[in-house]
């Protein structure tokens, strides 16, 4: 019997839902290790929006469900479940190390209400604090440290939006910000394999609002949202050798506001282009402990993106994008200050920059929706500024990160959705 392409197509159409679910489960079940070598600082990496469709367009977050005013054309209930897998290849000096991470990325649901109103909600990660780092092995020390950080800060979101004239939408959402991180500082004596572990746990809690809006028509879309300052309570517990060392500490972290804007154009039926800009003016971020407020030393950061979508046919779009950003906190390097005796170790802060290329596509699932798929290659780097002091180790840290995002979207109107940005 000879199989024709038509047979294959028919068979693949029937098995696509199973295939899509299988791929999503595979991504969710990949082994967990760590995400970024920079995540040990600040509040961690700002996590992407959690939608493979937007990630393929270089993640203009104002065009994603992170914007409460994006729901212009929502005509039926839909949800998105995303799995995110990340591999980071770090390079410092002559050393290279690969880390991996896979986990659920986000869940979003939205439903239309009468009179153009929309009710929506979801959960997504705002900051990731996953990392896995080994200390160096020095001749005068008979031990190494292995520090494993796990956790992050999440937003549990619920909001309302109102669509006007099927072109404009404004919305607001309440975010319950919560999460936690656990750092295990494993101490390993190299001669006898003796180990002990110091653990630092931090629980985060906070509340914030977000306001957003968008204008969308057949040829042009404009979207943006505003996130007011976030006051975050961080409660820290420390266990030394398995015993609580001191009482819990309470920190109050104040993050300034952030903005995101995006514009999209669709000059033809098959081609779409988008631009995105997100600004984090967080230089004035502060932390308060014991009634003493001090600066967190963050930077004003931004993220810009440009993306394009080409619809080969009405069912099969391909997406490409390029993004560039600076991170809101510094990397650190060290130099010897020989003017002091004995020579002192001086910390040298350095900005972290990131560039990325993004591709994506969608696999339609009849009578269900689509499996959106995106792959991203990001390069992050930081370089200590040149100085007269002698470096105390490598003066740069580079990281190639590969991100695979799979979003299972339920919406029977998936074909229409490609005509618009957002919903």
């Amino acid at each position: 019997m000879r199989l024709t392409i038509g047979d294959w197509r028919l068979a693949s159409m029937r098995t696509r839902p199973v295939l899509a679910l299988g791929l999503w489960l595979l991504a969710s079940a990949l082994p967990c290790c760590a995400q970024s070598f920079y995540n040990s600082r600040g509040l961690g990496e700002v996590t992407p929006a959690g939608e493979a469709r937007v990630a393929g367009l270089a993640e203009p977050s104002a065009l994603s469900t992170l914007n409460p005013g994006i729901f212009v054309g929502l005509n039926q209930t839909s949800f998105h479940v995303t799995a995110l897998a990340v591999a980071a290849l770090g390079t410092q000096g002559s050393n290279t190390r690969l880390l991996q991470d896979a986990r659920p990325g986000a869940f979003n649901v939205a439903t239309p209400l009468p009179l153009g109103a929309r009710l929506f909600g979801g959960i997504n990660q705002k900051f990731s604090q996953d990392f896995d780092v080994w200390s160096e092995s020095l001749s005068d020390t008979a031990y190494r440290r292995h520090i494993i950080g796990r956790g992050g800060i999440y937003a549990l979101r619920a909001g309302l939006a109102k669509s006007f004239f099927n072109r404009v939408c404004i919305g607001g959402e309440y975010n319950r910000v919560l999460g936690g991180s656990r750092e295990n500082w494993r101490f390993e004596a190299e001669n006898g394999g003796a180990t002990s572990t110091d653990t630092i746990e931090v629980d985060y809690a906070g509340n914030t609002l977000k306001l957003g809006g968008s204008y969308q028509d057949r040829f042009f879309s404009l979207a943006g949202y505003y996130e007011p300052p976030l006051s975050l309570t961080a409660r820290r517990y420390k266990r030394v050798h398995g015993v609580i060392d001191d009482t819990a500490r309470l920190y109050e972290i104040s993050l300034p506001e952030s903005y995101s804007l995006a514009a999209a154009a669709r000059p033809t039926d098959r081609i779409g282009i988008d631009l995105g800009l997100t600004v984090y003016p967080w230089h004035d971020a502060t932390i308060t402990f014991n009634d003493t407020t001090s600066s967190l030393g963050y930077r004003n950061a931004w993220r810009g993106s440009i993306g394009a979508e080409y619809e080969i046919d009405s069912l099969h779009p391909i997406r490409v994008g390029y993004s560039q950003q600076t991170w809101y906190y510094n990397a650190s390097f060290y130099e010897f200050d020989t003017t002091e005796q004995p020579s002192a170790l001086v910390q040298v802060p350095s900005s972290i920059s990131e560039r990325g290329v993004h591709i994506g596509t969608s696999i339609p699932i009849p009578k269900f929706g689509a499996l959106d798929l995106s792959g991203e290659i990001l390069y992050r780097s930081s370089q200590a500024p040149s100085s007269d002091l002698a470096p105390a180790g490598p003066t740069s840290l580079g990281e190639f990160a590969g991100r695979l995002m799979l979003t299972l979207s339920y919406s029977e109107a998936w074909a229409k959705r490609t005509r618009r940005w957002g919903y």
Partner: protein, 401 residues
């Protein structure tokens, strides 16, 4: 024609492109995720400001003392016989002689002993032991864990069972057993025999423990006539031990001594209060340079035990953990060698669990105490005195400071 058209139609091309894209992304992701992690220090600089540096400290012994103790030597692989300026040693052996053994056809009854040092000679005499004893509890003063000998050094009858000279790698002695009265034979079966030196100097004789149970262990060789043929039967030793006493320690009253045979133990305490309880002990080495006063082995093994009672309150009766916490070897021929014993885990317990595991100090002793005879003197003061070299690391700082 229709089929060809369907192949190049837009939906078919789109599906192929999407399929290709998917097949590009997924294998790349699988290759990345299947790679294993190494442990190179990439990214550690980002955490260095949260790590408190390591601190080093050297602590002299806060208190020290030494005492001697007669200890059971039944576990040793060597038995000692003889006397010199430092020790006097005899040995006791019990054989598994059946009380039902027929003596009528026995033509000879012989004691066989083996020694590792074939160049040594020693005259010896065997006598019946008159008190029962246990291998695990017998010492110069004790017949077992609870009962003392009537006479220190063992209770023996005056009858001579065998006499001769131990020479070469083994020696055979005619052993009086057949001609003895039944009561004395029963005493020998129950209590064994004692072997006493007749010359000065000390020889080592293989014991019946460990790997020497068959070839070199002490045994009785019984020859008897069976159906007109000369037949030999071996009676193995059931238990044996050395009884050792010290004649002179050749040391000052306040010297710190460590030794085997007659066990010398040294108690040391170190004040670790200067080390924060939250510190992780990276290294804790007990170091000293001993002076060898006596040794019959090329390598001396020392062990450290954690005291569970206060030595100040209970003295030599203070209990300690029987299993050594750490051990180290010392070569007497190398006069420059410093004994270094890793007691990191013990110092970690002292500093981090002071409330439940008080610092009563440590006990330094031979490992094991029935090992070949040696005695070391440890200086109380000076550069060779015991010292504790500690390197510790404080816990990490918070993410936010």
């Amino acid at each position: 024609m229709k089929e060809l058209k369907s192949l190049v139609s837009p939906p078919r091309i789109g599906a192929r492109v999407v399929l290709c894209l998917t097949l590009c992304i997924l294998p790349a992701a699988i290759v990345l995720f299947s790679s294993s992690c190494n442990t190179l220090p990439v990214g550690y600089d980002q955490l260095r400001d949260r790590v408190s540096g390591a601190a080093d400290t050297t602590l002299p012994a806060d208190s020290s003392s030494s005492y001697a103790r007669y200890v059971p030597l039944g576990g040793s692989s060597l038995l000692y016989l003889g006397s010199d300026t430092s020790y006097v040693a005899r040995l006791i052996i019990r054989f598994s002689i059946l009380d039902t053994m027929s003596l009528d056809s026995i033509t000879s009854f012989q004691l066989v002993l083996h020694q590792p040092d074939t160049a040594r000679t020693m005259g010896l005499i065997c006598r019946p032991c008159s008190s029962q004893w246990t291998e695990s509890g017998v010492s110069w003063q004790m017949a077992d864990s609870f009962d003392h000998w009537l006479t220190p050094g063992g209770d023996f009858l005056s009858d001579t069972l065998a006499t001769g000279i131990m020479t070469g790698d083994s020696a055979v002695f005619d052993f009086r057993y057949v001609g003895l009265d039944s009561a004395l034979r029963a005493t020998i079966r129950d209590c064994g025999i004692g072997i006493f030196p007749l010359d000065t100097g000390i020889v080592a004789i293989y014991a019946g423990t460990g790997s020497n149970t068959t070839t070199t262990a002490p045994r009785l060789l019984v020859t008897y006539t069976n159906k007109g043929k000369q037949t030999q039967r071996v009676v193995n030793d059931a238990s044996d031990a050395s009884l050792i006493d010290t004649v002179a320690t050749n040391s000052q009253p306040f010297d710190l001594l460590v030794g085997s045979g007659v066990a010398f133990r040294t108690w040391l305490t170190f004040n670790v209060d200067s080390i924060p309880s939250s510190a992780t002990i990276a290294r804790a080495d007990l170091k000293f340079r001993p002076e060898t006063k006596y040794h019959r082995t090329d390598t001396i093994n020392l062990g450290v035990h954690r005291l569970t009672d206060s030595y100040i309150l209970k003295g030599a009766s203070a209990r300690f953990e029987t299993t050594p916490l750490a051990t180290a070897s010392y070569v007497p021929a190398d006069s420059d060698s410093v004994v270094t014993i890793d007691i990191r885990s013990l110092v970690q317990l002292w500093t981090s669990r002071e409330d439940t595991l008080p610092n009563y100090g440590l006990l330094l002793e031979a490992a094991p105490e029935w090992s070949p005879l040696f005695r070391l003197r440890i200086p109380r003061s000076g550069p060779n005195a015991p010292r504790l070299e500690v390197q510790y690391v404080l816990p990490p700082e918070d993410r936010f400071r």
